[in-house]
């Protein structure tokens, strides 16, 4: 009980502290902190237009956060989700070049599956390098991400380039029938539903199934996993592949629902923001949903801050950085004995309080 209170109170407290500190930071630059907070809220959740923008950004964040959270539950720190997203997008856009894709829902499923396979294989490779060669997965996943971006740029500007795109090299657009549309005529596309389903489904998988439980044992206590004879390598590869598939799906959805083709604006840092979302959600897939919406909101509010207050577009990144640092630092408060601290404070403030004639309650 105490634990679950801390699980929610610590990140929430850290987020509030991060917003305060961010306010102080913009105040140093001569910008009103109150106005900044109001605009952050308005730009994220102020009206239906903001909500659409927020939810549109939350969809890929949920999926890239899963690419951090699932391997993390198996004990791996994977930070190369950006690479899986980029390759997933590339695979989705490239599929019609390789095989005939029907211009209907079947085609949509096919491009999404192509993205998932590409992303899953990429992150599973990082897991395999660790299990079979002892290569640190944090570093290898990041190197793989940079490699993926190099491959992406090479193919998009080279063999896959649509000759009609002059200024902004892109692949040929997907056919109309394959594209993913908005939900009920809004700008919020079905990718959001896919993200929520993935979070809920994988959350349930970890919580109630035998294989999900085994993954948590492998991550939580490798020694025990070895003693009871769990196939650690297989489970780790499974967690990596599932996580990578989610990030790859995010890339495919970005292509099919937002950009219609693969081009360099896909490399927008969703993979890195996903790391933050996963850490704040404490690697819990279900908690990822609200956190991704919150950070999608901050991302959406970024352009409003830029327009109204003339803040640089990186201000949201600063806020994210501060939030991440404080969330990690807040872990230090977890085992603090709050009751004893309260007693101590009361005792030390007692004489002062009575001197000023107040009751030290």
């Amino acid at each position: 009980m105490r634990d679950s209170v801390a699980n929610i109170a610590l990140p929430v407290g850290a987020l509030i502290a991060a917003l305060l500190l961010f306010g102080f930071f913009v105040w140093l630059g001569g910008v009103s902190p109150v106005e900044t907070w109001v605009l952050l809220f308005k730009g994220a959740f102020g009206d239906w237009f903001s909500w659409q923008n927020t939810l549109q950004r939350a969809a890929p964040l949920m999926l890239t956060a899963l690419c951090v959270a699932l391997p993390a539950r198996a004990g791996l720190v994977i930070i190369g989700g950006e690479g899986a997203l980029v390759l997933g997008a590339l695979a989705a856009a490239a599929l019609p070049y390789a095989v005939p894709v029907p211009h209907n829902i079947v085609g949509t499923v096919m491009v999404c599956v192509a993205g998932m396979l590409a992303g899953g294989a990429w992150i599973a490779l990082a897991g395999a390098l660790r299990q079979y060669r002892g290569v640190n997965e944090t570093i290898s996943s990041l190197l793989l991400a940079y490699t993926a971006i190099a491959i992406f740029k090479q193919l998009v500007e080279g063999p896959l380039r649509d000759p009609a795109t002059l200024n902004k090299p892109s692949t040929r657009s997907l056919a109309e029938g394959i594209l993913i549309g908005g939900i009920g005529g809004s700008d919020v596309h079905w990718g959001l539903v896919l993200g929520v389903i993935a979070c809920l489904g994988l959350g349930l998988w970890l919580a109630v199934t035998a294989s999900g439980f085994s993954v948590r044992v492998v991550g939580g206590n490798p020694r025990t996993a070895q003693l009871v004879g769990l196939p650690a390598t297989r489970l780790i590869l499974l967690a990596c592949a599932l996580g990578g598939a989610c990030a790859g799906l995010a890339g495919a959805v970005e292509v099919a629902a937002v950009h219609t083709n693969a081009n360099a604006s896909l490399i927008a840092g969703y993979g890195y923001a996903g790391i933050l979302v996963a850490f704040i959600a404490r690697q819990n897939p279900i908690a990822i949903i609200p956190v991704a919406i919150l950070f999608g909101g901050f991302g959406a509010a970024g352009s409003l801050l830029q327009r109204r207050l003339d803040l640089p577009d990186a201000s949201v990144q600063v806020l994210q950085g501060i939030a991440f640092v404080l969330i990690l630092a807040s872990e230090a408060l977890r085992n603090l004995d709050w009751a004893a601290l309260g007693q101590k404070l009361k005792r030390s403030s007692g004489p002062v309080a009575s001197a000023s004639g107040e009751t030290a309650a």
Partner: protein, 305 residues
């Protein structure tokens, strides 16, 4: 034949000497940090922030060397934050590094917005190629003046680790926290000091990114050099001297694409841009062994276990 090969190899050499300099400083900084028993993935953030700070310092003061000092100071400050955060109970150094990577790049882009347009005073190149007749070789040997400093620093670090009391203390903290405590030293203080000093060294790498050719500040200034440094240190087996060779090798690998382009081959330009990353990965695959601790690694390091 010679008309093609000479410019090609001159471009690779020039690229190695130019692109290798930031790698050298970041890997030396990471080496010092890891010797004390901590890993700093946040050096990527340190590099970008100090690149911006160095450029800004040079622009505002009118002196590139003041820019270099500002860059080192900015690097030390951000790394100090890493050192302090990691000293808190239950705070993991890998996760903190990722957070500082985000924070450092965010701060650099935020504060560096007004610096994208202007030109700042640059460090004067050292012309080491005057003995040669060939103009391409002369151009390739226009060396960053921070490169000799980096090599001196590598030798000093090597001697420092081997011969001095301070070096011994850093290695002690890195190899056995218990032994350090038993001798009455504070493990955390040593690690915080080593992390901050490592950040200052990495900051020099940031300065060499923006204060030497091509010499401008933009948001794509670093492409993961700070993270590659972590792999470079493993490759260099935690020896400052081997860091020099590793950094130049990586600079050369990164220069293959532009060198090919300079002799008229632009096929696969982006693929060659990925060579340093693939090379790092291949080196890691061959130098790491499953279940075994890497040779020469500090005993307290969490990342290599």
């Amino acid at each position: 034949m010679n008309d093609v090969l000479l410019p090609f190899f001159a471009a690779i050499l020039g690229g190695a000497l130019r692109v290798g300099v930031p790698f050298l400083f970041v890997s030396l900084g990471e080496c010092l940090t890891e010797k004390s028993g901590r890993i700093n993935l946040g050096l990527e953030g340190v590099l970008v922030l100090s690149a911006m700070a160095g450029f800004g310092g040079s622009y505002l003061s009118g002196s590139a060397w003041i820019g270099v000092l500002v860059a080192a100071a900015a690097g030390a400050l951000l790394a100090l934050l890493h050192g302090l955060l990691c000293s808190l109970p239950r705070v993991n150094d890998v996760a903190t590094g990722i957070a500082l990577m985000l924070l450092g790049t965010g701060l650099a882009f935020y504060l560096g917005k007004p610096l994208i347009q202007p030109q700042a005073p640059q460090l004067p190149p050292l012309a080491l190629g005057n003995w040669s007749e060939s103009s391409v070789l002369q151009a390739a040997l226009q060396v960053n003046p921070l490169l000799p400093l980096g090599i001196v620093l590598a030798v000093l670090l090597y001697l420092g680790f081997a011969r001095t009391r301070w070096g011994l203390l850093v290695r002690l903290a890195g190899d056995s926290a218990a032994a350090t405590k038993a001798l009455g030293y504070s493990v955390n203080s040593i690690r915080i000091a080593a992390t901050a000093a490592g950040g200052a060294i990495a900051g020099l790498g940031g300065a060499s990114l923006t204060l030497f050719y091509p010499g401008s500040w933009n948001e794509g200034i670093s492409s993961g050099q700070g993270l590659i440094a972590v792999a470079l240190v493993i490759f260099a087996r935690w020896s400052p001297l081997r860091c020099v060779g590793a950094a130049l090798l990586f600079g050369g690998a990164g220069a293959i694409g532009p060198a090919l382009q300079s002799i008229g081959i632009s096929q696969g330009y982006y693929l060659f841009g990925g060579v340093p990353y693939v090379l790092t990965l291949v080196i890691l695959v061959f130098t790491c062994k499953p279940g075994a601790v890497a040779k020469g690694s500090p005993g307290e390091l969490s990342s290599v276990k």
